[in-house]
Subunit: 149 residues, 2 copies
């Protein structure tokens, strides 16, 4: 695969992400390790919650979506991550859900102080198999330029 | 443990979080599953990167810190998470690092439209064992009130 540099990115261009399925066992495993709220880990407690059943930790949803976004970046010359934008959550993720990530390159800016680098965002809108919005968020990266301006 | 409601929270009160250690094997395991950037998964590639060695995925850092924050919430009547604030990243997390999470309740607001609920944030400042800042971010939750106003 041909290495991609900051100059190769196009504002608004969509990354092709594969679907993100959620299994009950994975939801419970992640939550027990990282986000042990009862509605993520315990079937009975989750049934008694406003969700009426088990839901995935938002961090699990974020991590699983990140996997497919990183795959879809192909061979981009990422130097480092520099942050994440606010995460807005709309609908919970339940066992059996399959998420679609609409990820687009955004906020492309070449660094003035370091002309061999540029910043780039990826804005993500995540929805489920019923077309309901699940979450919106963004990554921010520093990326190498091919040519020093 | 006595159940805590929205009324029991105090603006700015610190949650007592245990330290968060990072093992090389956990860093690689998490990154291979969720954030397979070479500087998170591959020792040689990481050595050639600007980091000069393996660093943890920020999502891993966020997830591992979330674990100790959730533990420190004790038995708070959380109804649901409603979002996360911007994540600012300052210094990478490396194998052997032990993070300290300074987490404080913030932005406590009772709902006007639903007087049996309130919102509450937790603002987190994370630093490493050398006192260097690692990241800052925040959670937002909806929490049950004890008394309906």
């Amino acid at each position: 695969m041909r290495k991609k540099y900051w100059e190769d990115l196009k504002e608004g261009e969509r990354l092709t992400c594969r679907p993100v399925p959620f299994e009950r066992s994975d939801i419970i495993f992640f939550a027990k390790k990282f986000d042990p709220q009862p509605f993520h880990t315990d079937e009975a407690a989750a049934s008694a919650s406003i969700f009426g059943g088990l839901i995935a930790s938002s961090l699990h949803a974020l991590a699983a979506c990140t996997r497919v976004v990183v795959e879809a970046q192909e061979d981009v010359a990422i130097i480092s991550g520099v942050g994440m934008d606010e995460v807005k959550m709309f609908n919970p993720v339940r066992p059996g859900d399959v998420l679609t990530v609409e990820a687009r390159w955004s906020d492309l800016k070449r660094s003035r102080s370091q002309p061999d680098k540029g910043v780039a965002g990826i804005r993500c809108k995540v929805s489920n198999q019923r077309g309901e919005p699940v979450m919106e968020y963004g990554y921010r990266y520093m990326i190498a330029c091919r040519d020093v301006a």
